[in-house]
């Protein structure tokens, strides 16, 4: 049994300890809610000292262990109600069914669209970080540099939350729904120092820089894979129709393979079909790997 917390940070520390092992995104949300409640309670009862207040919290908001249990329970209920069951359940099917079954996996599709989107978001993140960082670094020696640095770090935090929402919706990785609480009421200088000593600020910036090459890679792979496969499938169908004497319009169909036409058509069709499913598999893999990467760089580093 832990001792009754006497300050808000102590309470939060106990809550964090009680939630150990839970999803980091859940921990961040739980800590945010608790801090909002505790600070509101403190603001509603001016003159009462923190220790007396926190002694009463166990009866109203709940002791850290109770709160941890409540969040764990609610998370299970919500996950059950809102989420599609994980595709791991499909493992019982044969290898062939699993390979082609990817077409019915929503995360393969959303992952594919994430790959297309990541070029745009990657450029925005990269530009923001590079511009913000160089402007902040250049002006930090002047007094005007201080608000610029604060603004820059604030923008980074917002972008991090936005990217988290995109990642959760499109890649299926649970991400925080609330930002981190930043030490409020502390002097300016202390807050700036905190921003620089907070590992998360740096890992978020790293993630955003990484998003440009990654986004370019994802976009290229997605576009190349999908257009090559669809082109092969469509081309072979058209070639077949033309071979049967059908007028397919102005298309001059040349499958461009050194094979007789009767062999080229099925080979190209099968190749295109295979490529289509492979692209979806790549998209699903990217969805998983990138989800983990985002979780580590945007969330995990905050759980000191």
């Amino acid at each position: 049994m832990t001792t009754t917390p006497r300050t808000i940070p102590e309470y939060l520390e106990q809550l964090r300890a009680a939630l150990r092992g839970a999803d980091p995104a859940l921990i961040q949300d739980a800590l945010y809610d608790a801090e909002e409640y505790l600070r509101s309670e403190l603001a509603a009862n001016p003159g009462t000292d923190e220790a007396t207040l926190l002694a009463g919290i166990a009866g109203s908001y709940g002791a850290p262990e109770e709160v941890a249990d409540i969040y764990r329970d609610t998370e299970v209920q919500v996950t059950r109600a809102l989420r599609a069951p994980p595709p791991a359940a499909a493992d019982k099917r044969g290898a062939l069914a699993r390979f082609f079954g990817v077409i019915a996996d929503p995360y393969a599709w959303t992952g594919f669209f994430y790959m297309l989107l990541s070029l745009a978001t990657g450029i925005v993140y990269f530009t923001t970080v590079v511009t913000g960082f160089s402007v902040s670094a250049g002006t930090i020696v002047l007094i005007i540099g201080i608000p610029i640095v604060i603004l820059f770090v604030g923008v980074i935090r917002i972008l991090s939350l936005v990217e988290g929402r995109i990642v959760e919706v499109m890649l299926g990785e649970r991400m925080p729904r609330r930002p981190l609480y930043q030490g409020r009421g502390q002097p300016w200088l202390q807050r700036i120092v905190d921003m620089f000593t907070d590992l998360r600020t740096w890992s978020t910036m790293l993630y955003m820089l990484l998003m440009l090459p990654l986004g370019t890679l994802y976009f290229t792979v997605a576009v190349t894979g999908m257009s090559t496969s669809l082109g092969l499938v469509l081309g072979s169908v058209l070639a077949l129709l033309q071979g049967m004497g059908l007028d397919v319009g102005h298309f001059d169909i040349d499958l461009g393979v050194p094979l007789p036409l009767w062999l080229a058509i099925p080979v190209c069709f099968a190749g295109g079909l295979l490529g289509f499913f492979l692209t979806l598999h790549i998209a699903r893999l990217v969805a998983r790997v990138h989800g983990v990467l985002a979780k580590h760089l945007l969330v995990k580093t905050a759980q000191y």
Partner: protein, 121 residues
Amino acid sequence: MADVEPHLKKFQKELSAGTVSLVLLAVLEQSGEPVYGYQIAKRLERTGDPLLGGKQSALYPVLRNLSAAGLAESHVEPSVSGPPRRYYRITPLGSEVLAEWTRTWRTTRQSVDSVLEGQLP
């Protein structure tokens, strides 16, 4: 009576799982203006009912779910004393859903009451 306690706890927990959403939505509808988590918690505490006034930390995840489901909307506002607060307000969809939920609740309550009082048709 040591044996009754865990059963009571379990029943309360299951009962509150469904009713908390209804109650929170009703509070949002009646308040007319956006309210924040702590205000709602204190309002429910005054009812004195252990089911609603229980552990107030249970309200926050439910509020978040209501807002994720589109039944409520929220925004953050800085406050003079204390931290910035997240204010919740009911959406038109939320009002419609609340009307349906209220009807369901009334029907269920009547049926349950009539069974408990032995007035089975």
